[in-house]
């Protein structure tokens, strides 16, 4: 069976700074993987390379067996044109640390935007579906409010609804609770846990170790641009193989 996300020996530099060094990661379809590690390890960058918001210098990234940003001709990889990349992004959605809701649209318009403009769904039908998604994340009573009128937790849940409205097979979550008030983190984590039970492939960059332990099928530790451990949370968090993992875990868990 083809893995949902397959990252093989990916490297990337910004000028002289090496951000990703031979990073490799496999996420099986339908599972939830928590990606943890110290700040600056390259976790967000790796995530953004998966849906080609960032380019890579070497290695390959495949989503359901297909590369998002490149095509292969013999031994060479060429970056694809923008419209083709946009098409390939269709099944991959992202939830952001700073929510990135469209401020000039209401909550429901945000959720409708993808289906209406990318998939060409009619506005009436899209509105009904969007309402369902908002109900699923418990924000339906705020459907006609603007993002500026919502709390952080509500905005992030709208962000999740917006991603879900596109019926993705893979959802990438980039530190989804890091910008939230501690009191609001719980409601978003609950939403995410509920999602992971539905069979969508989820890749979550997070600092919430508790979530990684309780809701993830796999956990990967990333340090200094590379993945040093990957496995079920019971193994990685309790009995890590690498010394650097132990150092990191000692700091966050104690």
């Amino acid at each position: 069976m083809v893995a949902a996300v397959e990252i093989t020996n990916v490297s990337k530099s910004y000028g002289d700074v090496e951000v990703l060094i031979n990073a490799s990661l496999v996420v099986e379809a339908g599972t939830t993987l928590g990606l943890i590690g110290p700040s600056g390890a390259g976790k967000s960058t790796l995530l953004r390379c998966i849906n080609h918001l960032e380019t890579i210098d070497s290695g390959t990234i495949k989503v359901h067996g297909e590369m998002v940003g490149y095509r292969r001709e013999g031994n060479r990889l060429f970056e694809l044109g923008h419209s083709e990349i946009a098409r390939r992004r269709a099944g991959i959605e992202m939830v952001f640390q700073h929510f990135n809701l469209f401020p000039h649209m209401t909550a429901i318009e945000n959720v409708m935007a993808g289906p209406v403009y990318v998939k060409g769904v009619g506005k009436g039908e899209a509105r009904a579906v969007a309402m369902e998604h908002l109900r699923a994340v418990a924000v339906e009573n705020r459907a006609d409010f603007y993002p500026s009128e919502l709390s952080g937790g509500q905005q992030q849940r709208v962000g999740i609804a917006r991603a879900l409205a596109m019926d993705p097979t893979v959802i990438l979550l980039d530190e989804p609770t890091s910008s939230l008030d501690p009191a609001l983190v719980g409601e978003v984590l609950d939403t995410m846990s509920e999602l992971s039970g539905r069979g969508i492939t989820m890749l979550v960059v997070t600092h919430a170790i508790g979530f990684a332990r309780s809701s993830c099928d796999d956990v990967a530790i990333m340090v200094d641009g590379g993945i040093i451990e990957q496995g079920p949370p019971g193994d990685v968090l309790v009995n890590p193989k690498e010394e650097r993992s132990r150092v990191f875990l000692r700091r966050v868990i104690g």
Binding site: R48, N51, L53, H82, S83, A86, R87, R89, A90, I92, E93, M94, F96, H98, N100, L101, F102, P103, H104, M105, T106, A113, G114, Y117, V118, Y146, P147, S148, E149, R162, M166, L172
Partner: protein, 307 residues
């Protein structure tokens, strides 16, 4: 035990009271007094003949000038905005040909004085006697026109003003686009939107908040810059007023007539700008209460009347 005459009731909570703003009332009175004195000195000036102002305020030549000024300014501004958006988007392209064109355009059209640009368009036939569009390597002619037939004063003025203004608008648009956070691009792209959709559905609507105020300023500049068509015998408001004054020597009176009309046009343009600003601020929180002195005065008076 307090008596009934004592101040304040012991049973009710203190009431929130607006402070008596003596400083504000005094400064308001001062400003009004100053305005009155300035207006009075204009009104009682022996060199200004008020009947002449009244006589020419709705004179057909003046009204014709107002019409030319408005239509020319609006046409030029529409041209400038469309071209400015295209140029502004070009400036953010990764294609060096596009950024090069953008830079060359701005460098040229911002530098050459507007007067010269209008003069050249108006006398374009000195350079190109006919305007033709042919398909290269064939003898098929799509367009063949006499330059002087095409270049009326209106067309020349609109081109001169519009192309010059497009260079300025391009920078305004660029600033607007830059003001939209990177995260907005990320979110729109990750939804699978094509780049054109990202530009027109997500980025430009947000950029408008930053674009509208300086664009409003630019429009008002264009309204006044229309007077430069005097150099190609154009008939805008200021030129017509000055031409009348050249015949009857009533220079100050005619300029006052022109100024009154400019004040009216700019006031309407400003009101339109405020409406646009409000429309593009949907969804943005922030203190929206206006401190317009007229509205507050009306509120105070009606509150006082209702007492």
């Amino acid at each position: 035990m307090k008596t009934a005459e004592s101040l304040g009731s012991e049973s009710s909570a203190p009431v929130f009271t607006e402070p008596r703003r003596y400083g504000r009332w005094a400064s308001a009175a001062g400003v009004l007094l100053l305005s009155y004195l300035i207006a009075k000195s204009f009104y009682t000036n022996p060199f200004i003949e008020h009947s002449v102002i009244g006589e020419y305020l709705f004179h057909p030549v003046i009204l014709g000038g107002v019409w030319v000024t408005i239509t020319l300014a609006v046409t030029a501004m529409v041209l400038a905005t469309v071209l400015g958006v295209i140029l502004g988007l070009m400036s953010r392209s990764s294609n060096p040909v596009l950024t090069g064109i953008n830079r060359a355009y701005i460098a040229f059209f911002r530098a050459v004085p507007l007067l010269v640009q209008i003069l050249i368009w108006g006398n374009l036939s000195l350079f190109f006697q006919r305007l033709t569009l042919t398909i290269p390597f064939t003898s098929i002619t799509l367009i063949d026109l006499d330059t002087n037939d095409v270049m009326t004063t209106f067309v020349a003025g609109a081109l001169g003003l519009g192309l010059h203004q497009a260079a300025r608008m391009s920078e305004v648009v660029r600033a607007g686009i830059n003001s939209v956070g990177r995260g907005q691009f990320d979110a729109a792209l990750s939804l699978g939107m094509q780049r054109r959709q990202v530009t027109f559905l997500v980025v430009l609507p947000q950029a408008m908040r930053v674009i509208v105020p300086p664009a409003g300023n630019e429009f008002i500049s264009v309204l006044k810059a229309t007077s430069l068509i005097f150099v190609i015998a154009g008939g805008d408001l200021l030129t017509n007023a000055q031409n009348i004054a050249a015949t009857n020597l009533r220079v100050l009176e005619l300029l006052t007539v022109a100024s009154i009309w400019y004040l009216a046009m700019v006031a309407i343009a400003t009101a339109g700008q405020r409406l646009l600003e409000r429309r593009y601020s949907k969804g943005y929180s922030g203190d929206q209460t206006s401190t317009s002195p007229i509205r507050m005065a009306v509120q105070k008076v009606s509150a006082w009347l209702q007492r």
